[in-house]
């Protein structure tokens, strides 16, 4: 049933439908509304779970880890500094191969302090070994949250559902929250094969010598790669049940014969989609919505990029001293293709800077060059830089 809901409210209701037994979280903008809504659902008797309001994000992640090892389905959510604070635990959860789901309400990283949206937080834990799924809309976030439990439990890997802070979490729009029966049909009760049990005692989290560490990492890496199939299957099954797909590994929109592509993650997809409808004078362009960032869908991306002459990678994060994070991976993924498109790399909308529709025209202008230019933050306003930096080209490695 479609209801006018704030993104956070929709996520809280969706989490309740997934029946986690233990929820632990620490409030941080812009994730706060999610846990507040969950707390209200619990208080009103509409969600049966142990909700633990912990004293830090570090303990939030640790608490759900302990709960999952004791055999319960769990949920947590965080953002920004909270993600960084729990990063040690995030690596630990993934290394232990514990199925769980968390929402990252994407937000910039301090300093300078910013409570507004970009994706530097989840990008910072890219290598933690979690599945990362990025949502372009609140409906996608709802559907992805449900799918995330199925994926996590099938692969014994944790899943981070990334949704842009404020842009999605605080936006009120009509959202279809599926019926409980449908979610129950899709998502069987949690049954963790390695749950701790006094009747069958096992040891989790042991010390390994150099004799076994590499093998553990090998298995983890291959489990993530193999998770791509489960991500596709989970989306296909959900589509069959609900009539809605959430974008598999990645989704492509726009004319098939377009020679220019723009690849991005999260809510910018909506902006670019609206812009392409507005600026009809510009060349036909395909939009590539990269939903699965980990595992990175190399084959799907190659397929999506075949026939393109120019690919713009637009991301809300950067690796200072290098450049684009996603674009570096796109370069690597497309290397060796028969005709690799020219790759143009830009960061945009850092720290919540608004991304206007005109960005679409600017992008088309900026790729109209003889050779792709080095990575840049496309919406930097030079007059705001220190005077001595006004004339300096912000350049970097060609990513």
């Amino acid at each position: 049933m479609r209801k006018a809901l704030e993104g956070s409210q929709a996520i809280a209701q969706t989490v309740a439908l997934c029946r986690p037994q233990v929820v632990a979280a620490y409030p941080i903008t812009p994730q706060t509304h999610i846990v507040e809504n969950i707390a209200k659902l619990v208080a009103d008797g509409n969600m049966d779970c142990e909700l633990v309001s912990v004293e830090s994000e570090f303990s939030a992640a640790s608490l759900v880890l302990g709960a999952a090892c004791a055999g319960s389905r769990t949920y947590t959510a965080s953002a920004s500094q909270g993600i960084l604070l729990m990063s040690e635990v995030l690596y630990n959860i993934a290394g232990l191969r514990i199925p769980m789901v968390m929402t990252c309400a994407n937000r910039a990283i301090s300093a300078p302090l910013s409570i507004w949206n970009d994706q530097q937080d989840s990008m910072a834990v890219r290598d933690a070994g979690w599945i990362q799924l990025y949502c372009a809309s609140n409906q996608e976030a709802v559907d992805t949250t449900i799918q995330a439990y199925r994926i996590a439990e099938a692969t014994e890997l944790p899943v981070m559902v990334c949704m842009d802070g404020f842009t999605l979490t605080h936006t009120l729009e009509p959202i279809d929250i599926p019926a409980q029966a449908m979610v129950d049909e899709y998502l069987p009760p949690f049954n963790f094969s390695r749950a701790l049990d006094p009747a069958n005692p096992i040891s989790i989290g042991t010390l390994v010598s150099p004799d076994h560490y590499s093998e553990a990492r090998h298995s983890h890496h291959h489990a993530l790669l193999a998770a791509a199939d489960e991500i596709i299957a989970a989306d296909a099954d959900w589509q069959q049940l609900s009539g809605r797909a959430a974008g598999g590994l990645l989704s492509v929109s726009g004319p098939d014969d377009a020679q220019i592509g723009i690849l991005t993650l999260g809510s910018i997809v909506g902006t670019l989609s609206a812009a392409s409808d507005t600026y009809t004078d510009l060349p036909a362009t395909q939009l590539i919505n990269l939903r699965a960032y980990r595992p990175f869908p190399v084959d799907a991306l190659r397929l999506a990029c075949s026939g393109l002459t120019d690919l713009i990678v637009l991301e809300r994060a950067l690796s200072p001293g290098f450049g684009g994070i996603v674009s570096a991976e796109v370069h690597a993924a497309l290397a060796g293709m028969p005709a690799v498109p020219r790759i143009h790399s830009f960061a945009v909308g850092l720290g919540g800077r608004d991304i206007p529709l005109e960005i679409y025209r600017t992008l088309h202008e900026r790729i109209n060059v003889a050779e792709p230019q080095p990575f840049s933050i496309i919406d930097v306003e030079r007059e705001k830089l220190p005077v001595e930096d006004h004339g300096i080209e912000v350049t970097g490695i060609m990513t």
């Binding site: 142990e50 830090s56 570090f58 608490l63 302990g66 319960s72 005692p201 390994v208």
Partner: protein
């Protein structure tokens, strides 16, 4: 037809008791050092706690020496996550068991580093929220797993690799943190100290804590022969002297109120304790005025404990059975 009737004698009772199978949650064959106080303490805890438990173990010696993959010394469901999150891991286990309606008790194990220092916040959160967890701190008074560095539990003037004595220093400059008072200040139902030298006291306290619904805390003084600088065969002797000198008071607190202590009828001078350990050897240079002063300082700390916790008790009977100097071995009196 004659019956082979057995007469129960004191001898046969002792034999019977010896042969009685006792649950051991931690197997022999682990890799602890000779004379490790922590290994013995952990075994005694699991014996007293029984099999229906689930353990969250902080990073540290206990975790390392019991679980070198693919081996494990644990016969209990056990997990290790990180150094500083044991309180939160245990809280999560407890929340899950509660949600599942299971009665299994959660135990949290940490060393003094994981409890007093890096894991303190998670521990405080666990206590404040009232999780039904028994937190056991194996206190060997330094970061032993990384090679004997000072912790906030290291006693004053002790030598560690990060508090070495020298021309400008006499070992650790600060006092041992009073973790028990801090923990008890969370108004938890039960917090106690005990020592690996007094197994019957240790078992009694574990059993008591196991029966309490809510957060409980037990600090076990556990010598580390390597870190303290004494032969492994003297671990129990050293641990007992810590109690008998008044440097490690054995006390019990209920909701922050002291409800009991192990009396010391005949306190020993602190030099009896300190002199057995290399970590205090710089205090025994009679030509060094600083050493003499520090010894007096440590004796004053012990005297303060004896007075503050009223450790002399009220009985002066040399033959009473309730004092630290008469309790020599465990297993018979309470356990």
């Amino acid at each position: 037809m004659s019956t082979d009737k057995q007469t129960i004698t004191t001898d046969s009772l002792v034999k019977l008791r010896k042969n009685q199978p006792r649950f051991e949650g931690i197997e022999s064959g682990h890799r602890a050092c000779l004379g490790c106080g922590e290994a013995l303490a952990a075994r005694l805890v699991t014996e007293a706690a029984g099999p229906d438990v689930m353990i969250a173990n902080a990073t540290g010696c206990l975790e390392i020496f019991t679980t070198p993959w693919p081996e494990s010394a644990w016969r209990l469901p056990w997990m290790h996550s990180l150094f500083e999150n044991t309180g939160a891991i245990a809280a999560g286990m407890e929340a899950a068991l509660k949600a599942q309606g299971k009665p299994t008790k959660v135990l949290a194990f940490g060393g003094d580093g994981g409890t007093f220092d890096i894991g303190f916040q998670a521990l405080s959160g666990m206590l404040e929220r009232g999780h039904n967890v028994l937190y056991v701190c194996f206190d060997n008074e330094a970061y032993m797993n990384t090679g004997i560095q000072r912790s906030s539990s290291t006693p004053h003037a002790a030598m560690t690799t990060t508090s070495p004595p020298g021309s400008d220093r006499m070992g650790k400059r600060h006092l041992k943190k009073d973790i028990l008072s801090i923990v008890a200040a969370h108004h938890i139902p039960y917090a106690a100290t005990t020592s690996v030298a007094y197994p019957s006291d240790l078992r009694k306290k574990i059993r008591r804590a196991m029966e309490i619904e809510g957060p409980t805390f037990i600090q076990i003084h556990s010598p580390c022969p390597l870190g303290w600088g004494h032969d492994g065969e003297y671990s129990i002797k050293v641990a007992r002297l810590a109690v008998q000198t008044g440097l490690f008071p054995i006390i019990e607190l209920e909701r922050q109120e002291m409800i009991g202590s192990m009396p010391i009828r005949h306190p020993r001078p602190v030099t009896d304790y300190l002199g057995l350990q290399q970590r205090f050897r710089h205090l025994f240079n009679k030509d060094d005025a600083r050493a003499v002063e520090e010894l007096a300082h440590i004796q004053a700390l012990a005297d303060h404990n004896i007075k503050h916790y009223d450790l002399r008790g009220d009985g002066m009977d040399r033959l009473d059975s309730d004092g630290a100097d008469t309790v020599r071995r465990g297993g018979m009196r309470w356990a």
